[in-house]
């Protein structure tokens, strides 16, 4: 049996205990297979006799010790003596006869089965593998409705309100009509390119304007094929995190620097001393 995480078992046991009115610990033990199942209403099939186990094991291919364990558990649950030796009468373990009405003492009363009839009993269910090779693990899952949809709906409302509030309180810039003969000083690219424009101050335009963004984008796309480390635990991927954080921080710093600390002639400036040279947010920052 697959390993079911402890907390899942416990949750399920609690639910079952609540439903059946039994103590949680008992149900839990039963689920883990540490205790025999509590007697259910109605009986089970007659237990197989010990001597047949060899035959049965050979026939079904189920290991003998498993058959034995199941047999003992049943006997115990139904209040019969645990069989150790073979009662002479038992002929087959695959009884399909009408069940004894109560979980009563009718050991070894397996009825004769007509010649040539093979009967089976469901001992275990082996799930077929999926067509896609998906690793099947017991997962802790919740319904999308209402759990996820409710969260998404709230997120949607929050974003809508934030956006409307911004639209009310921050006026989008509209400067004078486009004039090809009069370049404003400084002229800046949109803010998400200001990191690159900042690099232009240090490198050749071919490097800053094309090579760095081009290679940067390519490197970004190749991350999954370069980083072969299968672990997702932060403690296992210190180097990857370090490198990525370095680039993220660098681009953030360059962008902020280019947005606020560059004035006329793209020279260094203090926004609090010389004013804001970032037209998008100028309206509220000044």
């Amino acid at each position: 049996m697959a390993d079911i995480p402890e907390h899942l078992l416990r949750r399920s046991a609690e639910a079952k205990a609540k439903a059946t009115g039994r103590p949680v610990e008992e149900v839990l033990a039963e689920m883990k297979g540490e205790a025999p199942p509590a007697p259910a209403a109605g009986g089970g099939d007659a237990p197989p006799a010990a001597a047949d186990l060899d035959t049965l094991a050979a026939e079904t291919g189920i290991p003998k010790h498993l058959l034995e364990r199941s047999m003992r558990a049943r006997a115990k649950a139904e209040g019969r003596p645990v069989p150790t030796a073979a009662p002479a009468t038992a002929t087959t373990a695959t009884a399909t006869a009408p069940r004894p009405a109560a979980g009563g003492a009718q050991p070894a009363a397996a009825p004769a089965i007509p010649e040539g009839v093979r009967t089976q009993r469901l001992l275990t269910v082996v799930k077929a593998g999926a067509i896609q090779q998906v690793k099947r693990e017991p997962h802790d899952k919740v319904n999308v409705w209402p759990h996820l949809l409710a969260i998404e709906f709230v997120a949607l409302l929050v974003v809508t309100f934030v956006l409307i509030a911004m639209a009310i309180y921050i006026q989008a810039p509209l400067l004078e009509f486009a004039n090809f003969n009069e370049q404003p000083n400084p002229s800046k690219a949109p803010w998400y390119f200001l990191g690159l424009q900042e690099l232009l101050a240090y490198f050749d335009p071919q490097v800053a304007g094309v090579l760095i963004p081009g290679l940067g984008l390519a490197a970004l796309a190749f991350i999954p094929y370069v980083d072969k480390n299968p672990s997702v635990r932060p403690s296992d991927r210190k180097l990857a995190i370090l490198i990525f954080t370095f680039f993220i921080t660098a681009s953030a710093v360059l962008t902020i620097y280019g947005s606020f600390f560059r004035g006329p002639g793209f020279n260094f400036t203090f926004p609090w001393r010389d004013g804001i040279f970032f037209d998008d947010l100028k309206a509220i920052l000044e």
Partner: protein
């Protein structure tokens, strides 16, 4: 009492509507809007399964995936912003002509004469900036979770394309007001592209439709902005969302 009576009559009317054929033809079985919806595990599944949402969401997701602290909703917020931008953008299209000087005049009129024109314009502009930001943050969160690891490598690549398309959408839109800010920001930005080794002048020519920015550039970027790029990004979004599900839903837990 009269109130109670009216309330009862209203209730009866609502019941009547909710049992009508028209209503039931719109809301498929299991919909919470149908008469007699009850909160059962089966109906919870039906709400998704019998709904167009099934294209986006499975019936169940991993519990940790719903925790706000895992995705921070950033992918969803990016997508939602894209939808808001589409809606507000269509509104703006009613009042905008991509010619010079009409484009600038239209924007002025939009801010002063059109009902809610200024509000919608501002929403479109700030929404675009927020989307760039949220896509970027979404990428960072995916990285820090190692969510690009197998089998999700390709979805990361799709994501990088989405990032690029988001930037291009924002950049092409930047020119449209046809004011000093637009003209010169785009001049600076597209000059960078002209430094491409070997093909620099060709790249620049295709991008701005000439050797320098002209009203033709405005038309070109307008078409890219309202038609071509939204079309392409929609396709990539479809692939992106499809892969999120086919790759086994949200990654993790860590």
């Amino acid at each position: 009492m009269a109130n109670g009576n009216g309330g009862r009559r209203l209730g009866a009317l609502v019941d009547h509507v909710r049992e009508s054929q028209v209503w039931n033809s719109i809301f498929r079985p299991g919909s919470p809007f149908r008469a007699g919806y009850s909160d059962s595990p089966r109906n919870r599944s039906y709400v998704i399964m019998n709904n167009v949402l099934y294209h986006l969401h499975p019936v169940k997701v991993k519990r940790h995936g719903v925790r706000l602290s895992y995705t921070l909703c950033l992918g969803g917020i990016s997508f939602f912003l894209f939808i808001v931008l589409t809606i507000t953008g269509i509104f703006l299209m009613f009042y905008y002509r991509p010619t010079s000087p009409q484009a600038y005049l239209d924007l002025q009129a939009l801010s002063t004469d059109v009902a809610f024109g200024n509000l919608v314009r501002n929403m479109h502009r700030w929404g675009a900036h927020l989307m760039v930001l949220s896509v970027f943050l979404h990428m960072a969160r995916v990285f820090y979770h190692g969510a690009y690891k197998p089998p999700r490598e390709f979805n990361w690549v799709v994501g990088v394309v989405l990032l690029l398309l988001t930037l291009l959408l924002s950049f092409t839109g930047y020119l449209l007001p046809w004011d000093q800010l637009a003209l010169w920001a785009v001049t600076v930005g597209s000059t960078m592209a002209s430094y491409t080794p070997v093909f620099g002048s060709q790249v620049s020519f295709v991008l701005i439709g000439g050797v320098q920015i002209t009203p033709d550039t405005l038309l070109r970027w307008y078409v890219l902005h309202v038609l071509f790029l939204p079309f392409v990004i929609t396709i990539f979004l479809a692939v992106h969302f499809w892969r999120v599900r086919k790759d086994g839903g949200i990654s993790g837990p860590l």
